[in-house]
């Protein structure tokens, strides 16, 4: 039981607070959006358009990454993960050279 059952009874403060929260409508144009969706016309929202762009761009980005990896490997003359990322090959000589350049004791 609450004040909805007794319209003339005083409304307790919590009920008053809650009743005041009743939303009467969605953003303007709601019936149009429903009918557009019902008719099968896609309603483009920001989130959906970003998802669509992501879906379009992902294959192109993957292709670009593969091409760059292939070019890196061809330039390096070896087929390793390091070469795909364009990293220099680590040998004993390069390791010693790096240590020397950092001023480590010989």
């Amino acid at each position: 039981m609450n004040s909805f059952d007794h319209p003339n009874a005083p409304v307790p403060p919590l009920e008053r607070l809650l009743r005041a929260q009743r939303a009467d409508a969605f953003e303007p144009g709601f019936p149009d959006r429903v009918l557009a969706r019902l008719a099968g016309r896609p309603v483009i929202t920001l989130g959906k358009s970003m998802q669509r762009y992501f879906a379009w761009m992902t294959p192109a980005l993957i292709a670009a990454i593969l091409v760059l990896a292939f070019l890196n490997m061809r330039a390096a003359g070896r087929a390793s993960v390091g070469a795909a990322f364009g990293l220099p090959q680590v040998t004993l000589a390069t390791a010693y050279a790096l240590e020397a350049s950092m001023g480590a004791p010989q």
Binding site: N2, P13, L17, A25, F26, V34, T45
Partner: protein, 199 residues
């Protein structure tokens, strides 16, 4: 009776694919769907999307609608179920990103001082109410939305949620107690500002 007959006629037209009838049904029931969905989820794209989905499901199930309950009750049942699903999804996503400490957090309700109320009272109170609603279990929130915000009777609420009336009453009592704890400062403040005022 006449209303019911007019409603049946409108449903029949919508079933036959009459767009104007569909529009009228959306316009007639937007208010109840908005009250339900926005009450459950708060305003935003998600609520709008669930609102649209409610009507899409309603139109897609028109062939199964036999008129045992009113269109309002039928649509509201779809709306509350979709909103509960959305809440489950939201909580699933949130739980992936939430640290264990967050579970301990109480509802953050800003200190309501009289001088801060002048311009922002409505928004502040609304935010506080939604923050408090957010802390309720979804099934309790559904009872509050239907019973207290939309003003449905206990029987109607039970019918929409497909639970016994006793369950509605016990969920309502627990939820109201929890809300009262969280919203106590706002209730006192409102009384001080406008004693006995109706919304």
């Amino acid at each position: 009776m006449e209303d019911r007959a007019a409603e049946r006629a409108l449903i029949d037209r919508a079933r036959a694919g009459d767009q104007q009838a569909c529009r009228l049904l959306v316009e007639q029931h937007e208010s109840v769907v908005a009250a339900t969905v926005i009450g459950m989820l708060g305003r935003g794209d998600e609520a709008d999307d669930v609102g649209q989905e409610t009507f899409i499901r309603f139109f897609n199930s028109l062939d199964r609608f036999r008129g045992e309950s009113s269109v309002k009750t039928y649509v509201q049942r779809i709306a509350i179920n979709l909103a509960l699903n959305a809440l489950k999804r939201r909580r699933r996503v949130a739980s992936r990103f939430r640290s264990f400490d967050d579970d301990e957090d109480p509802v953050v309700v800003a200190d309501p001082r009289a001088d801060a109320l002048a311009e922002h009272e409505t928004r502040e109170v609304s935010e506080a109410v939604h923050a408090a609603l957010d802390k309720l279990p979804p099934k309790h929130r559904a009872v509050i939305v239907l019973r207290m915000i939309d003003g449905r009777s206990t029987r109607e609420t039970a019918e929409i949620l497909r639970v016994p009336e006793g369950t509605v009453l016990s969920r309502l009592a627990r939820a109201m107690k929890q809300l009262e704890t969280h919203l106590q400062p706002y209730m006192r403040l409102r009384d001080a500002v406008s004693p006995g005022a109706e919304p």
